[in-house]
């Protein structure tokens, strides 16, 4: 009896190309995934503005940013909590103090009151927010030393 007839037949599919494809897909998703959107609240419906440009300056991406979401009732949504009126102002005051402490301890730098804080305040306000609460938040930021602001809008183009 020949040896070949006694061996049982093995059907082994070649999994290597499949693995290659899966790794390519994983690479794609790893590159496009964005964990930095955690501070962005999906409840906020941004207004549309054609000339609002996406952030393209790499230097601005490295800046310290404070993201403030304002809902349609004018309440501040921050770190998963809702702050209204005076609470929002207190929270902004606290964040400004925190930014000052960070500058002092981490960089050994004291903030010049005339220059203001280097932190950029990103305001994501809902399209239906009345002007008064939005203005109160901006005023609270200015009073506490924030000078740089980004007003977010959907790019309408």
């Amino acid at each position: 009896m020949s040896a070949s007839s006694s061996n049982s037949l093995k059907a082994e599919p070649n999994l290597t190309p499949l693995l290659d494809v899966v790794f390519q897909l994983i690479t794609f998703f790893m590159l496009v995934i964005n964990f930095s959107n955690d501070n962005y609240d999906s409840r906020i419906k941004l207004p549309v503005a054609g000339s609002a440009r996406p952030l393209d300056d790499p230097a601005m991406l490295l800046e310290d940013r404070l993201i403030l979401n304002v809902d349609s009732k004018g309440q501040l949504l921050f770190n998963g909590k809702i702050f209204s009126g005076g609470q929002a102002v207190e929270q902004i005051k606290f964040e400004a103090q925190l930014a000052r402490e960070n500058l002092k301890t981490l960089r050994g730098k004291k903030v010049d009151p005339s220059e203001g804080l280097p932190t950029r305040v990103v305001i994501r306000a809902d399209r239906d927010t009345p002007f008064t609460p939005f203005f109160n938040i901006i005023t609270a930021c200015q009073t506490n030393g924030f000078r740089k602001f980004d007003l977010k809008a959907m790019n309408g183009q």
Binding site: N34, F131, A153, M154
Partner: protein
């Protein structure tokens, strides 16, 4: 001479494939393609009077950059309707209705070489919706006016006498 049978070393690929599929599932489930957000970047200083009454009179020979800030600031007032939409815009002393007319008027003002305006203070009705304000900021931004400051309109302001 007798040859040794060749030994095949097989690396088990199946567990690696399982793990790769698990990773793929994780990335597919956590992937939320976010729409492109734009922004208007601005430096907003604390509120201060734009017209300094004690400022020296502008010299006609002086360049535009030497003029006091108050003279270079175009006052803009936004009045809201009851539903929070934009009802009327006052540009300087001109009352305008509608976004198209506002864009046209603003373009005319900014293209006029005799007028020194390069910044604006927008006085806004407290009821005005943010989306309407952004439309106005958008027009200023398109016309390269990036020095913008905000003020809130008083309760008795903007109503006809």
């Amino acid at each position: 001479m007798k040859r040794k049978p060749q030994e095949d070393v097989e690396i088990p690929i199946t567990p690696m494939l399982d793990m790769a599929f698990q990773l793929l599932t994780f990335f597919i489930l956590t992937y939320h393609p976010s729409p492109t957000e734009g922004q208007f970047s601005m430096n907003l200083l604390p509120a201060q009077p734009v017209i300094n009454m004690n400022a020296p009179a502008a010299d006609s020979a002086a360049s535009n950059s030497e003029l006091p800030a108050g003279l270079k600031t175009l006052p803009t007032t936004l009045l809201a309707a009851d539903d929070g939409m934009l009802a009327k815009v006052t540009l300087g002393e001109n009352q305008i209705e509608g976004m198209e007319a506002f864009t046209k008027e603003l373009t005319t003002i900014l293209k006029d070489p005799t007028l020194p305006f390069d910044q604006t203070i927008i006085k806004v009705d407290s009821r005005l919706k943010y989306s309407e304000l952004m439309k106005v900021i958008n027009v200023f931004s398109e016309l390269k006016v990036n020095k913008i400051s905000f003020a809130e309109m008083g309760a008795d302001e903007g109503t006809p006498p």
